[in-house]
């Protein structure tokens, strides 16, 4: 039985080592199976880490035995254990769905490459989350980004290629900005270990170098996070990627970016420094714009995947709004929404995956009237949509409640109203889709399809069901989010 420190290292090394093994397996189904097993194992590891951290507190693992601050260390506390669990769990559930979908959307000679990239992406995302070294963050970030460019480019439509290229260019600029920021931090403090930087910054923080570093890092992460107005790569990337890739990335990539943002703001730079600068005001304006603009644009989309992508831009706005409140309650609401949104969007993209599997398209025009042919899938879509709106008994409602409560607690009325306005706009774009799928006359009577296969329905309903379960029993989600927020704010349990 491995010690907890070894488990932390396994979290990264196992998917990294398995990835080339998957590449060697030419059979798509075997590659899938190995990937699934690895991902589930990683979910188990993450859950062990979370349990340990909740009971004992944060712990540190040194890679290779080299002591910090020269060696790289993995520092696990409640915040990143939470994110680790979310990422690995979403990866596993989407992988359960993936086999038939991938077999249909990707040519047989590329399938093992797909799964290889998946594992590398997973490694990168988990690495960003677990590491305690600033430069290591950059390395793992680029690992996950490069593999996600590959995942996206494997979509059937040729626009997947241009979307991936656009994402590559913008993503690299973002990552390079982060690198510049880390460079300035290094120049100012002489170290790369995050805990060490934060100690040394407490003396030297009010210099132009450090402020510039902060700005570059925030902008760079903002690009990865699809923070308005740096979100332009997201709609195309999610729309044309293979369905399971969209589901996986929508549920994980931006969440990890938000984690990075929180880690830098709270742990590295510190609360006082960060919010002395006009961070709060900037985030409030940008996130409100994200919520309103993202939702309005979603209303006019024909492609359901793009509709959900713009909806994601709005949902990321909610998370940032929580952060901008600069209170523990707001931060807790943001972390809660990280969890809730992963469940909602993951589930909704899997629903779209079912539609694409049977109908070959995600276009509302082509899908009109066909909702009834796949009743379980359609019901899942409605349930997920209700959660986006924030109807009670769903996770969306729980997030909204926490966010509005946090805003009213400090008297920020306009913010509460923006959140509620977002719900109204969500009603419009969700209901429009539901109406077209159900009520409109069928666009062409060519084929009557059957319901999606059980292998696809089960993971979809697992997530949609989780959506409703966590809308009522919030012990895990709010519980951990509260602890994590407290930890980030105060540095104590």
């Amino acid at each position: 039985m491995a010690t907890i420190e070894q488990l932390a290292i396994f979290q990264i090394t196992i998917p990294l080592i398995v990835a080339p093994l998957v590449f060697l397996l030419k059979n798509g189904n075997r590659a899938w199976f190995l990937t699934l097993v690895t991902s589930v194992a990683m979910m188990w590891v993450a859950s062990q880490l979370l349990v340990h951290v909740l009971s004992v507190g944060e712990f540190v693992t040194q890679i290779g035995g080299w002591a910090a601050p020269w060696g790289i260390e993995y520092r696990v506390d409640t915040v990143n254990a939470f994110v680790l669990l979310i990422v690995s769990a979403m990866s596993s559930i989407v992988l359960m769905f993936a086999r038939q979908s991938v077999n249909q959307e990707i040519e047989s000679n590329k399938r093992s490459l797909f799964y290889t990239s998946w594992l590398l992406c997973l490694t990168g995302l988990l690495g960003v989350t677990i590491t305690g070294d600033a430069f290591n963050v950059f390395v793992f970030l680029e690992i996950s980004s490069l593999s996600s460019y590959v995942l996206i480019a494997m979509g059937r439509d040729r626009r997947a290629l241009t979307s991936s290229f656009q994402y590559l260019v913008m993503g690299t600029i973002g990552a390079t900005f982060i690198l510049i920021g880390i460079g300035f931090l290094f120049i100012a403090t002489g170290t790369l270990n995050m805990a060490d930087i934060s100690e040394r910054l407490s003396d030297t923080s009010q210099t132009r170098t450090v402020r510039t570093a902060f700005a570059f890092i925030i902008v760079g992460i903002g690009l990865k996070l699809a923070m308005f107005p740096l979100h332009l790569w997201l709609p195309n990337a999610y729309a044309y990627a293979p369905s399971v890739a969209s589901a996986f990335l929508a549920a994980t990539a931006t969440k990890v970016a938000l984690y990075m943002l929180l880690r830098f703001i709270y742990t590295v730079f510190g609360f006082e420094f960060s919010f002395d600068l006009p961070l709060s005001e900037t985030l409030v304006i940008l996130s409100s714009a994200a919520i309103l603009v993202g939702s309005v644009v979603a209303i006019f989309q024909d492609n359901l995947k793009r509709l959900l992508a713009y909806s994601s831009v709005a949902q990321i706005g909610y998370m940032l709004l929580g952060v901008s409140l600069a209170t523990q309650a707001g931060l807790s609401a943001a972390l809660l929404h990280v969890f809730n949104h992963a469940v909602i969007k993951g589930g909704l993209f899997l629903v779209l995956g079912c539609f694409v599997f049977r109908f070959g398209t995600a276009s509302l025009k082509l899908l009109s009237g066909k909702g009834t042919q796949m009743p379980w899938t359609f019901a899942a879509f409605i349930a997920g949509g209700l959660s986006l709106i924030g109807v009670p008994l769903t996770t969306g409602f729980v997030s909204k409640w926490q966010l509005v409560t946090a805003a009213l607690d400090i008297g920020w009325w306009p913010v509460a109203l923006v959140v509620l306005a977002g719900s109204i706009l969500a009603i419009v774009y969700v209901w429009r889709a539901v109406e077209v799928l159900y009520f409109r006359p069928v666009s062409d009577d060519s084929q009557i399809v059957k319901e999606a296969p059980l292998e696809l329905l089960l993971p979809t309903w697992l997530l949609i069901g989780a959506n409703i379960y966590f809308g009522i029993n919030t012990e895990l989600s709010i519980g951990v989010a509260d602890v994590a927020a407290h930890w980030l704010m105060t540095g104590t349990r």
Partner: protein, 117 residues
């Protein structure tokens, strides 16, 4: 402010802006990648030049007591970053090849025009 003694920063800034401009303004996909490379190179220079210690020798271990080395850490970091940059460029060029196969061109305008239909 010593402008001349901080010339390394000016070089880095110049390269950064040039690269950034090429990325944004160029319509050709391959040229965008070149701009991206220039942009990344500027960061490399920023790091390495910041690691230089006055009167220090390149950080290669030599026999002898108390020799002043330049900081080796930036070199290590930049090696990693160069590798990342190479990987990115390779991927970008591969995508450009595939785009050329799919659209017949690597000019953004042509690609947009084809998508409009």
């Amino acid at each position: 402010m010593d402008i001349l003694s901080h010339y390394n920063y000016w070089v880095a800034i110049f390269l950064m802006m040039t690269g950034f401009y090429v990325v944004i303004a160029s319509g050709n996909l391959v040229k965008k990648l070149i701009g991206l490379n220039v942009f990344q190179a500027s960061v490399f220079i920023l790091y390495i030049s910041a690691g230089v210690v006055d009167k220090g020798v390149p950080p290669i271990l030599k026999e002898g007591a108390s020799i002043l080395y330049s900081n080796p850490l930036p070199h290590v970091l930049i090696l990693t970053a160069i590798v990342v940059g190479v990987g990115t460029t390779a991927l970008g060029l591969a995508l450009a090849v595939r785009i050329k196969e799919a659209y017949g061109s690597v000019e953004e305008d042509d690609i947009h025009a084809q998508e409009e239909d």
